[in-house]
Subunit: 231 residues, 2 copies
Amino acid sequence: MQLRDTLGLDEKRAIIQSARDRLHFSSGEDLVVEGDRPMRCVLVTSGFACRYRLLPSGERQIMAIHLPGDFVDLHSFLLKEMDHSVGALTECTAVGFPHESLLQVTERFPHLTRMLWLMTLIDAAGHREWLIGLGLLSAPQRTARLFCEIYKRLEIVGLARDHEFRFPVTQVAMGDALGISAVHVNRVVQELRQQDLITWERGTVRILDWSRLVATGQFSDRYLHLVREPR
Amino acid sequence: MQLRDTLGLDEKRAIIQSARDRLHFSSGEDLVVEGDRPMRCVLVTSGFACRYRLLPSGERQIMAIHLPGDFVDLHSFLLKEMDHSVGALTECTAVGFPHESLLQVTERFPHLTRMLWLMTLIDAAGHREWLIGLGLLSAPQRTARLFCEIYKRLEIVGLARDHEFRFPVTQVAMGDALGISAVHVNRVVQELRQQDLITWERGTVRILDWSRLVATGQFSDRYLHLVREPR
DNA sequence: CGCGCTCTTGACGAACATCAAGCTCCGTGG
DNA sequence: CCACGGAGCTTGATGTTCGTCAAGAGCGCG
Protein backbone atom coordinates (compact mmCIF):
# COMPACT_ATOMS: atom_id res chain seq x y z
CA MET A 1 0.00 0.00 0.00
CA GLN A 2 2.87 2.30 0.95
CA LEU A 3 4.24 1.84 -2.53
CA ARG A 4 1.39 3.79 -4.07
CA ASP A 5 0.87 6.60 -1.57
CA THR A 6 2.05 7.65 1.86
CA LEU A 7 -0.01 6.67 4.89
CA GLY A 8 -0.36 8.89 7.93
CA LEU A 9 0.56 7.63 11.39
CA ASP A 10 -3.08 7.51 12.47
CA GLU A 11 -3.96 5.59 9.32
CA LYS A 12 -1.25 3.05 9.97
CA ARG A 13 -2.43 2.63 13.51
CA ALA A 14 -6.04 2.24 12.40
CA ILE A 15 -5.28 -0.51 9.92
CA ILE A 16 -2.92 -2.37 12.22
CA GLN A 17 -5.46 -2.31 15.01
CA SER A 18 -8.06 -3.77 12.66
CA ALA A 19 -6.06 -6.97 12.36
CA ARG A 20 -7.42 -9.78 14.50
CA ASP A 21 -6.71 -13.49 14.41
CA ARG A 22 -3.63 -15.10 12.89
CA LEU A 23 -4.62 -17.85 10.50
CA HIS A 24 -2.89 -20.92 9.15
CA PHE A 25 -3.74 -22.97 6.08
CA SER A 26 -2.05 -26.06 4.77
CA SER A 27 -1.42 -26.63 1.09
CA GLY A 28 -4.60 -27.34 -0.83
CA GLU A 29 -6.85 -25.97 1.88
CA ASP A 30 -9.38 -23.26 1.05
CA LEU A 31 -9.19 -19.83 2.67
CA VAL A 32 -12.67 -18.96 1.44
CA VAL A 33 -15.15 -20.88 -0.69
CA GLU A 34 -17.44 -19.70 -3.47
CA GLY A 35 -20.84 -18.89 -2.02
CA ASP A 36 -19.45 -18.02 1.42
CA ARG A 37 -20.43 -14.81 3.15
CA PRO A 38 -17.25 -14.17 5.13
CA MET A 39 -17.24 -11.93 8.20
CA ARG A 40 -13.61 -10.96 7.70
CA CYS A 41 -11.04 -10.30 5.00
CA VAL A 42 -7.82 -12.24 4.81
CA LEU A 43 -4.36 -10.81 4.21
CA VAL A 44 -1.76 -13.43 3.28
CA THR A 45 1.49 -13.12 5.22
CA SER A 46 3.38 -16.14 3.87
CA GLY A 47 2.97 -18.71 1.11
CA PHE A 48 1.20 -18.76 -2.25
CA ALA A 49 -2.57 -18.64 -2.60
CA CYS A 50 -4.83 -18.47 -5.64
CA ARG A 51 -8.29 -17.41 -6.65
CA TYR A 52 -10.12 -20.01 -8.62
CA ARG A 53 -13.43 -21.29 -9.78
CA LEU A 54 -14.57 -24.83 -10.45
CA LEU A 55 -16.98 -25.80 -13.19
CA PRO A 56 -19.50 -28.60 -12.68
CA SER A 57 -17.23 -30.67 -14.93
CA GLY A 58 -14.53 -30.40 -12.28
CA GLU A 59 -12.27 -28.19 -14.38
CA ARG A 60 -10.56 -25.41 -12.48
CA GLN A 61 -9.62 -21.94 -13.64
CA ILE A 62 -7.12 -20.07 -11.51
CA MET A 63 -7.70 -16.35 -11.96
CA ALA A 64 -4.89 -14.90 -9.88
CA ILE A 65 -1.96 -16.00 -7.79
CA HIS A 66 -1.49 -14.25 -4.48
CA LEU A 67 1.69 -13.61 -2.55
CA PRO A 68 2.45 -12.40 0.94
CA GLY A 69 1.08 -8.88 1.34
CA ASP A 70 -1.99 -9.54 -0.79
CA PHE A 71 -5.48 -8.96 0.58
CA VAL A 72 -7.03 -11.96 -1.11
CA ASP A 73 -10.69 -11.30 -0.44
CA LEU A 74 -10.91 -7.64 0.41
CA HIS A 75 -13.76 -7.41 -2.07
CA SER A 76 -15.90 -9.63 0.18
CA PHE A 77 -16.17 -6.60 2.48
CA LEU A 78 -18.65 -5.04 0.04
CA LEU A 79 -19.64 -7.83 -2.31
CA LYS A 80 -20.67 -9.88 0.73
CA GLU A 81 -21.03 -13.14 -1.16
CA MET A 82 -17.95 -14.77 -2.68
CA ASP A 83 -18.26 -15.42 -6.42
CA HIS A 84 -15.14 -17.61 -6.39
CA SER A 85 -12.90 -19.51 -3.98
CA VAL A 86 -9.43 -18.80 -2.64
CA GLY A 87 -7.15 -21.74 -2.01
CA ALA A 88 -3.67 -22.22 -0.60
CA LEU A 89 -1.21 -23.37 -3.25
CA THR A 90 1.37 -23.93 -0.54
CA GLU A 91 1.27 -23.70 3.22
CA CYS A 92 0.08 -20.19 4.09
CA THR A 93 -0.17 -17.92 7.07
CA ALA A 94 -2.54 -15.00 7.10
CA VAL A 95 -4.25 -12.36 9.21
CA GLY A 96 -7.98 -11.70 9.42
CA PHE A 97 -9.57 -8.24 9.37
CA PRO A 98 -13.22 -8.29 10.54
CA HIS A 99 -15.61 -6.53 8.14
CA GLU A 100 -16.89 -4.68 11.18
CA SER A 101 -13.45 -3.11 11.76
CA LEU A 102 -13.05 -2.25 8.11
CA LEU A 103 -16.45 -0.57 8.22
CA GLN A 104 -15.22 1.62 11.06
CA VAL A 105 -12.10 2.45 9.09
CA THR A 106 -14.14 3.55 6.08
CA GLU A 107 -16.35 5.70 8.30
CA ARG A 108 -13.39 7.53 9.81
CA PHE A 109 -10.51 7.50 7.36
CA PRO A 110 -11.43 8.59 3.83
CA HIS A 111 -7.88 8.45 2.51
CA LEU A 112 -7.20 5.03 3.98
CA THR A 113 -10.49 3.90 2.48
CA ARG A 114 -9.29 5.04 -0.92
CA MET A 115 -6.10 3.07 -0.41
CA LEU A 116 -8.03 -0.09 0.39
CA TRP A 117 -10.20 0.60 -2.64
CA LEU A 118 -7.01 0.99 -4.66
CA MET A 119 -5.84 -2.46 -3.56
CA THR A 120 -8.94 -3.99 -5.11
CA LEU A 121 -8.48 -1.89 -8.25
CA ILE A 122 -4.99 -3.27 -8.70
CA ASP A 123 -6.46 -6.74 -8.32
CA ALA A 124 -8.85 -5.92 -11.14
CA ALA A 125 -5.97 -4.63 -13.26
CA GLY A 126 -4.32 -8.01 -12.65
CA HIS A 127 -7.45 -9.72 -13.92
CA ARG A 128 -7.22 -7.68 -17.10
CA GLU A 129 -3.62 -8.79 -17.62
CA TRP A 130 -4.70 -12.36 -17.13
CA LEU A 131 -7.43 -11.81 -19.70
CA ILE A 132 -4.93 -10.67 -22.29
CA GLY A 133 -2.94 -13.81 -21.65
CA LEU A 134 -5.88 -16.16 -22.07
CA GLY A 135 -7.39 -14.31 -24.98
CA LEU A 136 -4.45 -13.31 -27.12
CA LEU A 137 -1.25 -15.09 -26.16
CA SER A 138 0.04 -18.54 -27.07
CA ALA A 139 0.85 -21.08 -24.39
CA PRO A 140 4.60 -20.28 -24.34
CA GLN A 141 3.87 -16.56 -24.15
CA ARG A 142 1.44 -16.99 -21.29
CA THR A 143 3.87 -19.16 -19.42
CA ALA A 144 6.74 -16.71 -19.84
CA ARG A 145 4.46 -13.91 -18.74
CA LEU A 146 3.39 -15.74 -15.61
CA PHE A 147 7.00 -16.25 -14.55
CA CYS A 148 7.67 -12.56 -15.14
CA GLU A 149 4.64 -11.54 -13.11
CA ILE A 150 5.43 -13.74 -10.13
CA TYR A 151 9.06 -12.70 -10.06
CA LYS A 152 8.31 -9.01 -10.34
CA ARG A 153 5.72 -9.08 -7.60
CA LEU A 154 7.91 -11.14 -5.31
CA GLU A 155 10.78 -8.76 -5.89
CA ILE A 156 8.62 -5.79 -4.96
CA VAL A 157 7.78 -7.25 -1.57
CA GLY A 158 11.39 -8.27 -1.04
CA LEU A 159 10.87 -12.01 -1.38
CA ALA A 160 12.95 -12.57 -4.49
CA ARG A 161 16.12 -11.25 -6.02
CA ASP A 162 18.79 -12.25 -8.52
CA HIS A 163 16.04 -13.50 -10.84
CA GLU A 164 15.38 -16.52 -8.70
CA PHE A 165 12.44 -17.54 -6.53
CA ARG A 166 10.81 -20.47 -4.80
CA PHE A 167 7.80 -21.64 -6.74
CA PRO A 168 6.59 -24.92 -5.28
CA VAL A 169 3.57 -25.21 -7.57
CA THR A 170 2.66 -28.26 -9.64
CA GLN A 171 2.38 -28.24 -13.39
CA VAL A 172 -1.27 -29.16 -12.99
CA ALA A 173 -1.86 -25.92 -11.08
CA MET A 174 0.11 -24.04 -13.72
CA GLY A 175 -2.20 -25.48 -16.34
CA ASP A 176 -5.25 -24.39 -14.39
CA ALA A 177 -3.80 -20.89 -14.22
CA LEU A 178 -2.74 -20.68 -17.85
CA GLY A 179 -5.84 -22.29 -19.28
CA ILE A 180 -3.89 -25.15 -20.87
CA SER A 181 -3.52 -28.83 -20.05
CA ALA A 182 -0.85 -30.02 -17.64
CA VAL A 183 0.75 -32.05 -20.42
CA HIS A 184 1.08 -28.98 -22.53
CA VAL A 185 2.52 -26.99 -19.63
CA ASN A 186 5.23 -29.58 -19.48
CA ARG A 187 6.09 -29.28 -23.13
CA VAL A 188 6.08 -25.51 -22.97
CA VAL A 189 8.33 -25.44 -19.92
CA GLN A 190 10.73 -27.79 -21.71
CA GLU A 191 10.75 -25.32 -24.55
CA LEU A 192 11.53 -22.36 -22.29
CA ARG A 193 14.31 -24.39 -20.72
CA GLN A 194 15.73 -25.30 -24.08
CA GLN A 195 15.77 -21.65 -25.09
CA ASP A 196 17.80 -20.91 -21.96
CA LEU A 197 15.10 -18.62 -20.65
CA ILE A 198 14.53 -20.32 -17.32
CA THR A 199 15.35 -23.28 -15.15
CA TRP A 200 12.80 -24.82 -12.81
CA GLU A 201 13.92 -27.57 -10.51
CA ARG A 202 12.70 -28.80 -7.15
CA GLY A 203 10.32 -25.88 -6.74
CA THR A 204 12.81 -23.15 -7.58
CA VAL A 205 12.62 -21.01 -10.70
CA ARG A 206 15.63 -19.17 -12.05
CA ILE A 207 15.20 -16.67 -14.84
CA LEU A 208 18.26 -16.89 -17.04
CA ASP A 209 17.45 -14.06 -19.43
CA TRP A 210 15.03 -11.53 -18.00
CA SER A 211 14.75 -9.28 -21.00
CA ARG A 212 14.13 -12.12 -23.42
CA LEU A 213 11.57 -13.63 -21.06
CA VAL A 214 9.83 -10.25 -20.80
CA ALA A 215 9.81 -9.97 -24.58
CA THR A 216 8.45 -13.49 -25.00
CA GLY A 217 5.63 -12.89 -22.55
CA GLN A 218 5.11 -9.27 -23.62
CA PHE A 219 5.22 -8.46 -19.95
CA SER A 220 4.88 -4.97 -18.56
CA ASP A 221 4.50 -3.99 -14.92
CA ARG A 222 2.36 -0.98 -15.70
CA TYR A 223 -0.74 -2.72 -14.38
CA LEU A 224 0.84 -2.84 -10.92
CA HIS A 225 0.65 0.96 -10.75
CA LEU A 226 3.87 1.27 -8.81
CA VAL A 227 3.98 5.05 -8.71
CA ARG A 228 3.74 6.77 -5.33
CA GLU A 229 1.44 9.76 -5.69
CA PRO A 230 -1.52 11.34 -3.87
CA ARG A 231 -4.62 9.19 -4.35
CA MET B 1 -26.23 1.44 -7.56
CA GLN B 2 -29.67 1.53 -6.01
CA LEU B 3 -30.03 -2.13 -6.84
CA ARG B 4 -27.42 -3.11 -4.27
CA ASP B 5 -28.18 -0.75 -1.40
CA THR B 6 -30.37 2.22 -0.62
CA LEU B 7 -28.94 5.71 -1.04
CA GLY B 8 -29.85 8.58 1.24
CA LEU B 9 -31.25 11.81 -0.18
CA ASP B 10 -28.06 13.70 0.58
CA GLU B 11 -26.03 10.98 -1.11
CA LYS B 12 -28.17 11.16 -4.23
CA ARG B 13 -27.79 14.90 -4.30
CA ALA B 14 -24.04 14.68 -3.84
CA ILE B 15 -23.52 12.28 -6.72
CA ILE B 16 -25.89 14.09 -9.06
CA GLN B 17 -24.15 17.37 -8.36
CA SER B 18 -20.81 15.81 -9.19
CA ALA B 19 -21.89 15.26 -12.78
CA ARG B 20 -20.48 17.85 -15.16
CA ASP B 21 -20.28 17.87 -18.92
CA ARG B 22 -22.43 15.80 -21.24
CA LEU B 23 -20.28 13.88 -23.72
CA HIS B 24 -20.89 12.39 -27.13
CA PHE B 25 -18.88 9.74 -28.97
CA SER B 26 -19.45 8.30 -32.39
CA SER B 27 -19.03 4.62 -33.14
CA GLY B 28 -15.41 3.55 -33.09
CA GLU B 29 -14.23 6.59 -31.18
CA ASP B 30 -12.28 6.18 -27.95
CA LEU B 31 -13.63 7.46 -24.65
CA VAL B 32 -10.24 7.01 -22.98
CA VAL B 33 -6.97 5.65 -24.26
CA GLU B 34 -4.40 3.40 -22.59
CA GLY B 35 -1.74 5.55 -20.98
CA ASP B 36 -4.08 8.50 -20.42
CA ARG B 37 -4.31 10.18 -17.03
CA PRO B 38 -7.94 11.32 -17.16
CA MET B 39 -9.18 14.14 -14.95
CA ARG B 40 -12.70 12.77 -14.88
CA CYS B 41 -14.64 9.51 -14.89
CA VAL B 42 -17.19 8.70 -17.55
CA LEU B 43 -20.64 7.24 -17.00
CA VAL B 44 -22.26 5.93 -20.18
CA THR B 45 -25.86 7.03 -20.66
CA SER B 46 -26.62 5.48 -24.03
CA GLY B 47 -24.99 3.10 -26.48
CA PHE B 48 -22.50 0.24 -26.14
CA ALA B 49 -18.87 0.75 -25.13
CA CYS B 50 -16.06 -1.70 -24.46
CA ARG B 51 -12.79 -1.95 -22.61
CA TYR B 52 -10.01 -3.27 -24.71
CA ARG B 53 -6.31 -3.54 -25.18
CA LEU B 54 -4.25 -3.71 -28.35
CA LEU B 55 -1.09 -5.75 -28.75
CA PRO B 56 1.79 -4.50 -30.87
CA SER B 57 0.66 -7.07 -33.43
CA GLY B 58 -2.59 -5.14 -33.78
CA GLU B 59 -4.73 -7.83 -32.20
CA ARG B 60 -7.43 -6.56 -29.89
CA GLN B 61 -8.83 -8.13 -26.77
CA ILE B 62 -12.12 -6.76 -25.52
CA MET B 63 -12.32 -7.30 -21.78
CA ALA B 64 -15.79 -6.03 -21.02
CA ILE B 65 -18.81 -4.61 -22.77
CA HIS B 66 -20.46 -1.62 -21.14
CA LEU B 67 -24.05 -0.53 -21.26
CA PRO B 68 -25.89 2.61 -20.22
CA GLY B 69 -25.51 3.06 -16.48
CA ASP B 70 -21.95 1.76 -16.40
CA PHE B 71 -19.14 3.83 -14.97
CA VAL B 72 -16.57 2.77 -17.55
CA ASP B 73 -13.44 4.22 -16.00
CA LEU B 74 -14.28 4.85 -12.39
CA HIS B 75 -11.04 3.08 -11.50
CA SER B 76 -9.06 5.91 -13.11
CA PHE B 77 -10.05 8.00 -10.08
CA LEU B 78 -7.47 6.10 -8.00
CA LEU B 79 -5.34 4.23 -10.51
CA LYS B 80 -4.61 7.55 -12.23
CA GLU B 81 -3.09 6.05 -15.34
CA MET B 82 -5.25 3.95 -17.66
CA ASP B 83 -3.92 0.45 -18.27
CA HIS B 84 -6.37 -0.12 -21.15
CA SER B 85 -8.60 1.83 -23.51
CA VAL B 86 -12.35 2.30 -23.64
CA GLY B 87 -13.98 2.57 -27.04
CA ALA B 88 -17.50 3.18 -28.33
CA LEU B 89 -18.92 0.11 -30.05
CA THR B 90 -21.88 2.22 -31.19
CA GLU B 91 -22.74 5.87 -30.90
CA CYS B 92 -22.62 6.75 -27.20
CA THR B 93 -23.63 9.53 -24.90
CA ALA B 94 -22.07 9.90 -21.47
CA VAL B 95 -21.58 12.17 -18.47
CA GLY B 96 -18.26 13.19 -16.93
CA PHE B 97 -17.55 13.25 -13.20
CA PRO B 98 -14.38 15.23 -12.35
CA HIS B 99 -11.96 13.35 -10.10
CA GLU B 100 -11.91 16.47 -7.95
CA SER B 101 -15.64 16.14 -7.23
CA LEU B 102 -15.34 12.43 -6.54
CA LEU B 103 -12.56 13.22 -4.09
CA GLN B 104 -14.91 15.55 -2.23
CA VAL B 105 -17.56 12.85 -2.20
CA THR B 106 -15.16 10.34 -0.68
CA GLU B 107 -14.13 12.85 1.97
CA ARG B 108 -17.70 13.52 3.05
CA PHE B 109 -19.82 10.47 2.29
CA PRO B 110 -18.35 7.18 3.53
CA HIS B 111 -21.34 5.09 2.55
CA LEU B 112 -21.55 6.60 -0.92
CA THR B 113 -17.83 5.96 -1.25
CA ARG B 114 -18.40 2.31 -0.47
CA MET B 115 -21.08 2.20 -3.15
CA LEU B 116 -18.70 3.65 -5.74
CA TRP B 117 -16.09 1.17 -4.59
CA LEU B 118 -18.72 -1.54 -5.00
CA MET B 119 -19.29 -0.52 -8.61
CA THR B 120 -15.64 -1.21 -9.37
CA LEU B 121 -15.81 -4.51 -7.48
CA ILE B 122 -18.67 -5.65 -9.66
CA ASP B 123 -16.58 -4.72 -12.68
CA ALA B 124 -13.83 -6.95 -11.33
CA ALA B 125 -16.34 -9.75 -10.80
CA GLY B 126 -17.26 -9.31 -14.47
CA HIS B 127 -13.61 -9.70 -15.40
CA ARG B 128 -13.55 -12.98 -13.50
CA GLU B 129 -16.56 -14.22 -15.44
CA TRP B 130 -14.84 -13.27 -18.66
CA LEU B 131 -11.77 -15.18 -17.49
CA ILE B 132 -13.78 -18.35 -17.00
CA GLY B 133 -15.09 -17.97 -20.52
CA LEU B 134 -11.68 -17.56 -22.11
CA GLY B 135 -9.98 -20.16 -19.95
CA LEU B 136 -12.46 -22.99 -19.74
CA LEU B 137 -15.32 -22.66 -22.19
CA SER B 138 -15.54 -23.62 -25.86
CA ALA B 139 -16.35 -21.05 -28.50
CA PRO B 140 -20.08 -21.91 -28.62
CA GLN B 141 -20.29 -21.79 -24.84
CA ARG B 142 -18.58 -18.41 -24.66
CA THR B 143 -20.83 -17.02 -27.32
CA ALA B 144 -24.00 -18.26 -25.64
CA ARG B 145 -22.75 -16.84 -22.35
CA LEU B 146 -22.07 -13.43 -23.86
CA PHE B 147 -25.60 -13.20 -25.20
CA CYS B 148 -26.94 -14.17 -21.77
CA GLU B 149 -24.80 -11.57 -20.05
CA ILE B 150 -25.76 -8.73 -22.33
CA TYR B 151 -29.44 -9.56 -22.21
CA LYS B 152 -29.51 -9.92 -18.44
CA ARG B 153 -27.70 -6.64 -17.86
CA LEU B 154 -29.83 -4.78 -20.37
CA GLU B 155 -32.95 -6.17 -18.76
CA ILE B 156 -31.82 -4.96 -15.34
CA VAL B 157 -31.51 -1.38 -16.53
CA GLY B 158 -34.80 -1.63 -18.38
CA LEU B 159 -33.36 -1.59 -21.89
CA ALA B 160 -34.46 -5.05 -22.97
CA ARG B 161 -37.39 -7.35 -22.44
CA ASP B 162 -39.09 -10.33 -24.06
CA HIS B 163 -35.66 -11.84 -24.65
CA GLU B 164 -34.85 -9.43 -27.42
CA PHE B 165 -32.36 -6.59 -27.68
CA ARG B 166 -30.59 -4.35 -30.12
CA PHE B 167 -27.00 -5.45 -30.56
CA PRO B 168 -25.46 -3.54 -33.45
CA VAL B 169 -22.01 -5.06 -33.04
CA THR B 170 -19.94 -6.67 -35.79
CA GLN B 171 -18.77 -10.25 -35.75
CA VAL B 172 -15.22 -8.94 -35.76
CA ALA B 173 -15.86 -7.16 -32.47
CA MET B 174 -17.52 -10.29 -31.13
CA GLY B 175 -14.39 -12.22 -32.01
CA ASP B 176 -12.22 -9.69 -30.19
CA ALA B 177 -14.43 -10.10 -27.14
CA LEU B 178 -14.61 -13.88 -27.22
CA GLY B 179 -10.97 -14.46 -28.07
CA ILE B 180 -11.78 -16.27 -31.32
CA SER B 181 -11.49 -15.31 -34.97
CA ALA B 182 -14.32 -13.52 -36.73
CA VAL B 183 -14.71 -16.43 -39.11
CA HIS B 184 -15.22 -18.78 -36.22
CA VAL B 185 -17.71 -16.42 -34.60
CA ASN B 186 -19.72 -16.71 -37.76
CA ARG B 187 -19.72 -20.50 -37.70
CA VAL B 188 -20.63 -20.59 -34.03
CA VAL B 189 -23.49 -18.15 -34.47
CA GLN B 190 -24.78 -20.29 -37.33
CA GLU B 191 -24.70 -23.21 -34.97
CA LEU B 192 -26.64 -21.37 -32.26
CA ARG B 193 -29.18 -20.36 -34.87
CA GLN B 194 -29.53 -23.90 -36.11
CA GLN B 195 -30.14 -25.12 -32.60
CA ASP B 196 -32.98 -22.59 -32.34
CA LEU B 197 -31.26 -20.84 -29.46
CA ILE B 198 -31.13 -17.37 -30.96
CA THR B 199 -31.75 -15.27 -34.02
CA TRP B 200 -29.54 -12.30 -34.87
CA GLU B 201 -30.52 -10.15 -37.81
CA ARG B 202 -29.88 -6.54 -38.69
CA GLY B 203 -28.41 -5.76 -35.28
CA THR B 204 -31.17 -7.33 -33.22
CA VAL B 205 -30.74 -10.46 -31.13
CA ARG B 206 -33.68 -12.57 -30.07
CA ILE B 207 -33.18 -15.35 -27.55
CA LEU B 208 -35.50 -18.17 -28.51
CA ASP B 209 -34.81 -20.48 -25.58
CA TRP B 210 -33.43 -18.68 -22.56
CA SER B 211 -32.99 -21.69 -20.32
CA ARG B 212 -31.18 -23.72 -22.94
CA LEU B 213 -28.95 -20.74 -23.78
CA VAL B 214 -28.15 -20.31 -20.09
CA ALA B 215 -27.31 -24.00 -19.84
CA THR B 216 -25.13 -23.86 -22.94
CA GLY B 217 -23.18 -20.88 -21.67
CA GLN B 218 -23.25 -22.03 -18.04
CA PHE B 219 -24.41 -18.55 -17.26
CA SER B 220 -25.22 -17.35 -13.78
CA ASP B 221 -25.97 -13.80 -12.71
CA ARG B 222 -24.46 -14.28 -9.27
CA TYR B 223 -21.45 -12.17 -10.21
CA LEU B 224 -23.74 -9.16 -10.65
CA HIS B 225 -24.48 -9.21 -6.92
CA LEU B 226 -28.05 -8.10 -7.38
CA VAL B 227 -29.05 -8.28 -3.73
CA ARG B 228 -30.01 -5.07 -1.98
CA GLU B 229 -28.45 -5.10 1.48
CA PRO B 230 -26.47 -2.77 3.76
CA ARG B 231 -22.94 -2.37 2.41
C1' DC C 1 9.97 -51.72 -0.20
C1' DG C 2 6.00 -50.23 -2.44
C1' DC C 3 2.60 -46.71 -3.23
C1' DG C 4 1.16 -42.40 -4.97
C1' DC C 5 2.10 -38.06 -6.91
C1' DT C 6 4.40 -35.49 -10.29
C1' DC C 7 6.92 -35.12 -14.35
C1' DT C 8 7.89 -36.73 -19.01
C1' DT C 9 7.23 -38.42 -23.71
C1' DG C 10 4.70 -40.23 -27.77
C1' DA C 11 0.63 -40.95 -30.80
C1' DC C 12 -3.58 -39.35 -32.31
C1' DG C 13 -7.56 -36.29 -32.76
C1' DA C 14 -10.45 -32.05 -32.17
C1' DA C 15 -11.04 -27.18 -32.06
C1' DC C 16 -9.98 -23.33 -33.99
C1' DA C 17 -6.89 -20.14 -37.10
C1' DT C 18 -5.79 -18.69 -41.54
C1' DC C 19 -6.38 -17.91 -46.32
C1' DA C 20 -9.31 -17.14 -50.03
C1' DA C 21 -13.33 -16.27 -52.52
C1' DG C 22 -18.05 -15.06 -53.20
C1' DC C 23 -22.17 -13.03 -51.35
C1' DT C 24 -25.59 -9.62 -49.30
C1' DC C 25 -26.82 -5.38 -47.87
C1' DC C 26 -26.82 -0.56 -47.98
C1' DG C 27 -25.46 4.03 -48.83
C1' DT C 28 -23.77 7.15 -52.45
C1' DG C 29 -23.52 9.57 -56.59
C1' DG C 30 -24.52 10.01 -61.38
C1' DC D 1 -33.40 4.48 -61.04
C1' DC D 2 -29.38 2.10 -61.34
C1' DA D 3 -24.38 1.33 -61.12
C1' DC D 4 -20.78 1.25 -57.98
C1' DG D 5 -18.16 0.43 -53.88
C1' DG D 6 -17.36 -0.93 -49.33
C1' DA D 7 -18.29 -3.16 -45.09
C1' DG D 8 -19.78 -7.08 -43.12
C1' DC D 9 -21.37 -11.86 -43.53
C1' DT D 10 -20.85 -16.63 -45.30
C1' DT D 11 -18.60 -20.79 -46.83
C1' DG D 12 -14.84 -24.03 -48.11
C1' DA D 13 -10.08 -25.88 -47.90
C1' DT D 14 -6.04 -26.46 -45.36
C1' DG D 15 -2.82 -26.04 -41.38
C1' DT D 16 -1.48 -25.40 -36.49
C1' DT D 17 -1.98 -25.49 -31.71
C1' DC D 18 -3.27 -27.74 -28.15
C1' DG D 19 -6.17 -31.59 -25.75
C1' DT D 20 -6.64 -36.39 -24.65
C1' DC D 21 -5.14 -40.90 -23.84
C1' DA D 22 -1.65 -43.88 -22.45
C1' DA D 23 2.49 -45.53 -20.54
C1' DG D 24 6.73 -45.12 -18.20
C1' DA D 25 10.24 -42.85 -15.06
C1' DG D 26 11.72 -40.36 -10.94
C1' DC D 27 11.03 -39.29 -6.27
C1' DG D 28 9.40 -38.66 -1.66
C1' DC D 29 6.89 -40.83 2.05
C1' DG D 30 4.91 -44.13 4.97
